[in-house]
């Protein structure tokens, strides 16, 4: 396979993966903000169904990962680009904590918010724009933040 063909094939895979992901989110109920909030509402009328979303996804993907580990490389690229760090640090937990607060306030995480854009709901569009702004600004401020977390 020439590099050009390989790159095209990777593009097709990415597109297809995105479509399947969007469909999966909608089928699973992740694109209904109040359902997500119902899942996070452990203390009043908890809706456990989103546990099954993670359960179903992990069941499939864990098996795939296990099978892939016997292979030297993915089919269409030179190597698996997978995080290898296993240590916990303040950044990870602080970031996850902040993300969780936003998730609980809006009922959206990044994937379902983007998949909801075709509804043209003002809240979904506003959420995505604010998310992009937050992500961009944080990346820009990252060197400062890293120093602050290293030397509090």
């Amino acid at each position: 396979m020439t590099p050009r063909v390989r790159e095209r094939a990777q593009g097709v895979v990415a597109l297809l993966s995105g479509v399947l992901f969007g469909l999966g989110l909608a089928v699973a109920g992740m694109t209904r903000a109040e359902k997500v909030i119902g899942f996070l509402n452990f203390f009043r009328g908890w809706d456990p169904s989103l546990m099954f979303v993670m359960g179903g996804a992990i069941a499939v993907h864990a098996v795939a990962w296990r099978l892939l580990q016997g292979r030297p490389s993915p089919l269409l690229s030179a190597r698996f680009l997978v995080p290898t760090r296993r240590d916990l640090d303040a950044r990870l937990l602080l970031g996850a904590a902040i993300f969780g607060v936003g998730w609980g306030l809006g009922g959206f995480c990044p994937g379902p918010a983007i998949a909801s854009l075709p509804t043209a709901a003002p809240t979904a569009v506003a959420f995505v724009l604010a998310m992009l702004a937050g992500s961009y600004a944080t990346a820009r401020l990252d060197p400062v933040l890293t120093r602050a977390l290293k030397h509090p």
């Binding site: 909608a26 604010a130 992500s135």
Partner: protein, 140 residues
């Protein structure tokens, strides 16, 4: 015993999500983490843009197909516009600092038994639940 339809749909949708993550990893060698894929588009580096843009286009396309086939699968909740802007901002900031969201940590990372992803997932579900508790079941 009757299994609620919602649980079955959740499992089916989850399996589709697992399949899409497996395709991206097994063929392209990439982790299907949405905040990371989108984050890479905000600071583009040469040769690393097309697949990200195509994935996001596919995600929007998948949403469009789903909207046509099952419009009831979407609802944007009852939070006010101001609250949603704050929520989006926090999600953008948090996923960038913590290097991942529900897909990257919650699905892909846990599938690889990554301790970092397990810790991150427990943390964001914890603070999400706390937020919902403090806002009385959904911010407005």
């Amino acid at each position: 015993m009757d299994i609620p339809l919602d649980w079955i749909r959740a499992l089916q949708g989850g399996a589709l999500i697992g399949l899409s993550a497996s395709l991206l990893l097994g063929l392209n060698g990439r982790v299907m983490g949405i905040s990371g894929i989108v984050g890479g588009l905000l600071a583009p580096s040469a040769g690393d843009v097309a697949w990200r843009a195509l994935f996001v286009a596919g995600l929007v396309g998948g949403g469009l197909i789903a909207l046509a086939a099952m419009p009831g699968a979407f609802s944007a909740g009852s939070a006010s516009l101001g609250m949603v802007l704050l929520a989006g901002l926090l999600v953008g900031v948090g996923t960038r600092i913590g290097k991942g969201c529900t897909s990257g940590h919650g699905v892909c990372g846990i599938s690889r038994f990554s301790p970092r992803s397990v810790a991150a997932t427990l943390t964001f579900i914890g603070t999400g639940a706390l937020t919902v508790l403090l806002t009385g079941g959904g911010a407005r």
